[in-house]
Amino acid sequence: MFRNQYDTDVTTWSPAGRLFQVEYAMEAVKQGSAAIGLRSKTHVVLASVNKASSELSSHQKKIFKVDDHIGVAIAGLTADGRVLSRYMRNECINYSYTYESPLPVGRLVVQLADKAQVCTQRSWKRPYGVGLLVGGLDESGAHLYYNCPSGNYFEYQAFAIGSRSQAAKTYLERKFESFMDSSRENLIKDALFALRETLQGEKMTSSICTISILGAGEAFHVLDQETVQRLINEFEIVGEEPPADEAAAPDAEAAAEAATEGAAPDQGAAPMDI
């Protein structure tokens, strides 16, 4: 994208019918470190890459618990993400207080989207520079949504945002059809594999990633480092290839399958995120 004479204000249309400031905001999302979400009928997994600005500093928190039944992973301006998480938590807690019931995710997501839209139509505001993967559980099952700075929102079976997310998306596109009936464990495994794709050969350890899960009978929580490392070891030992077939067999022991495959792993670079 290049600078042009229509990109100074969010309230200025370009002749082609574009709002450049909004598009620039979406660029900010692409610059953030990756965040991934996938869902089955009963569970949603949110995962993110922990990028620290330097070796000396800690990494920024990118996954937030919004309520027992809703979690959010962000990519982009984490400060904007924090503020929106606070808004979401507030909405959930107010709803719970009035109705003694969890706020349906679909409704929260619409409120969030409407809030983002406001910033695209006020000359004294700027769009939020953060993309949100909202995972939640309600009466109609588990859901995963993506909220854009533009004020749009979409529901997904699986999605990835942030830098090098295309690699993860390619992986997810291959496997997503099996997710709906996936077991909890396989969903987490797929999240780890998708996350690994975004690391582009970097060594995958539990310190570089955060995994969180929510589901029927399981409140949203972030998995502790020990558990994550154990899971990473489980499939790393088995081989580079992810479990071949997951649709039919619940919790199929990946070891048995990989042993018979014996194929050399493809370590070629994934397509660059343009």
Partner: protein, 246 residues
């Protein structure tokens, strides 16, 4: 009407509403008891159709049982105009809920909690909605029955009642209610309670409705009357034994 001493106008604003004339001090047209019970397929409610004006049984076709959305029923005792106000709140609540059009809907538990918030907040402003409400329903097979009062007291139970119903009906229900009552058994039980109330509650009128809510939906019966028995010797010869009376 009620003999509340008219005090001098309050000058401070600590007690809420600007003009005292805007605050509910006492009720005018009131409904008496409402009873609700859980039964096998859902919830049953009974309430008579009386609207008393103090000690006068003035209005005899007041519907005190109303449906709320697809899953709930509300019954009200107390000030009828406040009940109508509550219905406006609830109708608006359900309207906005329906407008989402997203497969989610407010169930009886949510409506009950919402009402509790409304009643309690009004009580805190010293401007109560002068009602005792029974709220019940069934959603996805889950039955729910609760009550809220004008001061915000709320609880759930297998059988609830308002006003005199608490004193006259609930003892009967404690003895004779059980899970898996059939519809016929439930109605019979409610009628037994309503009959006692008819004999003993001076604000009761002999014209009642039964409301039912199940997963299939809401029904409200046509108004009908209970048979009563007055042929007691003491009533036939009321002055027997009262020397000098006629």
């Amino acid at each position: 009407m009620m003999h509340l001493a008219d005090s001098a106008p309050v000058t401070n604003n600590l007690l809420g509403s600007e003009a005292d004339s805007q605050r509910t001090m006492y009720p005018y047209v009131t409904g008496t008891s409402v009873i609700g019970i859980k039964y096998k397929d859902g919830i049953l409610f009974a309430a008579d159709m009386g609207g008393s004006y103090g000690s006068t049984l003035r209005y005899k076709s007041v519907e005190r049982l109303k449906s709320v959305g697809k899953h709930s029923v509300i019954g009200a005792s107390g000030e009828i105009s406040d009940f109508q106000e509550i219905m406006r709140y609830l109708d608006e609540l359900i309207l906005y809920d329906n407008m989402w059009d997203d497969g989610n809907s407010l169930g009886p538990k949510q409506v009950h909690n919402y009402l509790t918030r409304v009643m309690y907040n009004r009580r805190n402003m010293f401007n109560p909605l002068w009602n005792s409400l029974v709220l019940g329903g069934i959603k996805n097979g889950q039955k729910y029955l609760g009550t809220v009062s004008m001061i915000g007291v709320n609880y759930e139970d297998d059988h609830v009642a308002t006003g005199f119903g608490n004193h006259l009906a609930r003892p009967i229900l404690r003895d004779e209610w059980h899970e898996n009552l059939t519809y016929e058994e439930g109605v019979k039980l409610l009628e037994k309670c309503m009959r006692v109330l008819l004999y003993r509650d001076r604000s009761a009128v002999n014209k009642l409705q039964i409301a039912k809510i199940t997963d299939e939906g809401f029904t409200l019966s046509e108004p009908y009357s209970l048979k009563t028995f007055w042929d007691f010797n003491a009533f036939n010869n009321p002055t027997l034994g009262a020397e000098g009376s006629w």
